[in-house]
């Protein structure tokens, strides 16, 4: 079974770049922590897409392995980040990332 017929690699990469840039825009624009985190997920997903596409181009498993590591990273990051979000909302009663600037000298 081989679905990978003749998808141009460049198109996949352009898609990945587009997703990445959208995610980056989201990180920069949004003030709500939840949306920032979602945008981060989007960016990481775009990276995974680029890895998998490159792996498919060279018929190597390494791309998918990298994707799996990104997955593990995302899981870890989300677990910790959401814990922080909970604390943030408890302490500042807000989800604004700029609320948590107490470490500012």
């Amino acid at each position: 079974m081989n679905f990978a017929l003749s998808i141009p690699l460049e198109h996949v990469f352009v898609l990945a770049a587009a997703l990445f840039c959208i995610g980056l825009t989201g990180v920069l624009v949004r003030r709500n922590v939840m949306f920032v985190l979602m945008s981060l997920e989007v960016m990481m997903n775009a990276c995974g897409l680029a890895f998998v596409a490159a792996g498919a181009r060279w018929a190597q498993a390494d791309g998918q392995i990298m994707f799996m590591f990104i997955l593990a990273l995302a899981a870890a990051e989300v677990a910790v980040a959401l814990g922080i979000v909970l604390q943030l909302s408890r302490r500042f009663d807000s989800l604004d990332v700029d609320a948590a600037n107490e470490m500012h000298s």
Binding site: M1, I7, V12, N32, M34, S39, E41, R57, V78, L86
Partner: protein, 169 residues
Amino acid sequence: MESLFYIAAVTALASTVSVVTAKNASHALIYLIVSLLSVAVIFFLLGAPFAAALEVVVYAGAIVVLFLFVVMMLNLGKGSVARESAWLRPNMWILPCLLTVPLFLGLVYVLSGQPVQTAAAMVGPKAVGTQLFGPYLLAVELAGILLLAALVGAYHLGRRYLSERREEV
């Protein structure tokens, strides 16, 4: 079959834009699931069925659900949408777009300079597994430690009365 890729790609782009622009967190998460599923389709088309399965199971199934739990725990009321609207004024998009659009155009420019290649090969779960537990074994162990650390960290951060308890001591 290529058309399937383009359909998935357009779906992914559209849903991702919706994630970033949405004002309601729950809606954004649904859009995120759509985006992730379409990327899973693309993985499948690229000959990476294992990655596609993981994308659905772990990303859409576990991580996003985690988000949903938190959104429910935070109990965002109706005011949240209005607050998002206040935070998300249209002119705030200008500067970030000034950064990201050139980045995107640059990437496209770089990619367009290359000769056209096709992503063709099928890499099954078996090949991934042998690689993963062969040369990448150490990395797997490290990932395991990372997840363990995240588990501990999340447990610690997630305790309800972290600050109050510290004050008691």
